[in-house]
């Protein structure tokens, strides 16, 4: 199978650290440099400067864990929502299409912070979910809409001939989608989806507003008690950076795994 759109130039924009690629020529890539600089600075602060940094590093690990949990659960849920939305958006059924499109329109028009407040406090009157669950649902609902758009674009990018070929071989619509279209779409959408993952991770810092004890909240607790604002936010920023760098590397590895039948 020829992979579609192989020679079409794609405008890539990143909302997090750029996803490192094999094609990045040169001895030192920006990714490596950032990683070395950030981990180096953090290590230097903790092991050489010690003092406050040591106490900080002992104070925030559970926050990092919470940030991680929120991210992972939100990603899983958002992917499901995104796939459903994407399929709904290309569906030929008028009503399914309308529902999916309306969901995307509504969610994309409300700032994430407002959505978080809404799901947590406004809906708290009817549904009493724990804070973590509310945070994950809000993140997933928001990012599900964005991912849905990416899925839709990926599905539409697959050449019409692919569908025609599969249908003439006797595949049903659902089978065509499952065995022919989606596997190819996956490869196209992985870079933008990976990008969304990184954005989602950074946006989890917003859940600290809901008193979820994530990395940022732990940092704020430490800072407002010790008055060490500079030290605290330096460490918090570095930790976020290191996590997003690692995540972007994971995405690029996944890309390589998925592109195994593209001629290199």
């Amino acid at each position: 199978m020829q992979s579609p759109q192989q020679n079409v130039p794609v405008i890539e924009q990143h909302d997090g650290p750029a996803i490192p690629r094999k094609s990045d020529k040169g001895l030192v890539s920006a990714w490596w440099l950032s990683l070395v600089l950030s981990t180096g600075t953090l290590a230097w602060l903790v092991f050489v400067e010690k003092g406050a940094y040591m106490r900080l590093i002992k104070f925030i690990p559970d926050g990092v864990l919470v940030t991680f949990q929120v991210t992972v659960f939100s990603i899983v849920l958002a992917l499901l929502l995104g796939l459903l939305t994407g399929l709904g958006r290309v569906s030929r059924n008028k009503w399914i299409n309308l529902v999916a499109s309306t969901y995307v329109e509504i969610v994309r028009g409300i700032p994430l912070l407002v959505q978080l407040f809404y799901i947590y406090y406004a809906l708290g009157r009817f549904v009493r979910v724990p804070d973590m669950v509310a945070a994950v649902i809000a993140m997933a609902v928001c990012y599900g809409a964005y991912l849905g758009e990416i899925f839709r674009a990926g599905i539409l990018a697959i050449d019409k001939g692919q569908t025609e070929a599969a249908r003439s071989l006797g595949f049903s619509r659902a089978q065509t989608m499952r065995y022919v279209i989606l596997p190819q779409a996956m490869r196209i959408i992985l870079p933008p989806v990976g990008n969304e993952f990184i954005m989602l991770l950074k946006d989890t810092s917003l859940v600290s507003i809901l008193a979820v004890a994530d990395l940022l909240r732990r940092g704020r607790e430490f800072a407002s008690e010790s008055f060490l604002y500079f030290e605290t936010y330096t460490v918090v920023a570095l930790v976020y950076l290191i996590i997003t760098l690692i995540l972007s590397k994971m995405v690029s590895m996944l890309e390589e795994r998925l592109s195994f039948y593209v001629k290199r």
């Binding site: 008193a211 004890a213 008690e225």
Partner: protein
């Protein structure tokens, strides 16, 4: 010509202000009823606000209030973004290390607010439960010190109370006038919440005005004002007006 007149008038206005009365800018996190909060007319109001305005009248300064979020309010003082903090700041030894305090203007204790149907009588009854408090308040410190209690910090005490009301946490610890405001007087929470206990920490806790370390001039002015308000009985009136008993 008209421009010049307007300019002259403006200059006169500003200079008049600075000549007749010194302005002291107070940062306040106006989410702490009845001490300082935003009233229905969108103006910052409350016991401490009236108190400082009265103190200004007595000592000859204009009290100007600036709304600032609690988290970071001390950093702003250190950075010189305002002259003082009037935001129910309890005077603690740790805080004395980084800022100066005025004469105390109000005595508080920490209260534990629980749902009306709760059986809890003391803080010890809350073992294994989650207690909320506003981030880095003395209430939050008390929760952190308590044995076997999970703490949860909020940006504003109102959000903690709302979470308690919605059943997400088991109690809230905050200053007693605030607890009374929410549990006994607030229309929404009245009858649904109650004050289970006053937490005895062994030492009295007082509110003071926080100033930048070494700011003798404003400290003297504010202290003079506070003492006058106490001596003239204005304090009693304010307590009657805002707190009741």
């Amino acid at each position: 010509m008209r421009k010049i007149v307007v300019l002259a008038a403006l200059i006169a206005l500003f200079s008049a202000q600075s000549v007749w009365a010194k302005t002291i800018v107070f940062a306040t996190d106006a989410t702490w009823p009845p001490m300082e909060f935003v009233g229905p007319d969108k103006q910052i109001t409350g016991f401490a606000i009236d108190y400082m305005k009265a103190a200004g009248k007595e000592a000859g300064f204009t009290a100007d209030f600036k709304a600032v979020a609690w988290d970071g309010i001390f950093a702003g003082l250190a950075a010189g973004k305002y002259d003082a903090i009037c935001s129910s700041v309890s005077i603690t030894e740790e805080r004395k290390g980084t800022m100066d305090f005025s004469t105390p203007y109000f005595k508080v204790r920490q209260a534990l607010v629980v749902p009306a149907d709760s059986k809890a009588k003391t803080l010890a009854d809350m073992k294994g439960k989650t207690l909320g408090a506003q981030i880095s308040t003395t209430g939050h410190f008390a929760v952190k010190k308590a044995e076997g209690v999970k703490d949860k910090s909020y940006d504003e005490v109102g959000l903690a109370i709302e979470d308690l009301f919605n059943g997400r946490i088991d109690g809230v610890v905050c200053d007693d006038p605030v607890a009374a405001q929410y549990a006994l007087q607030n229309d929404k929470y009245k009858g649904k919440l109650k004050i289970a206990a006053i937490i005895e920490s062994g030492e009295d806790e007082f509110y003071g005005i926080a100033l930048k370390k070494g700011d003798k001039e404003n400290l003297a002015l504010i202290n003079k004002g506070i003492e006058a308000v106490k001596a003239k009985g204005i304090e009693k009136e304010l307590i009657k007006k805002w707190i009741g008993q």
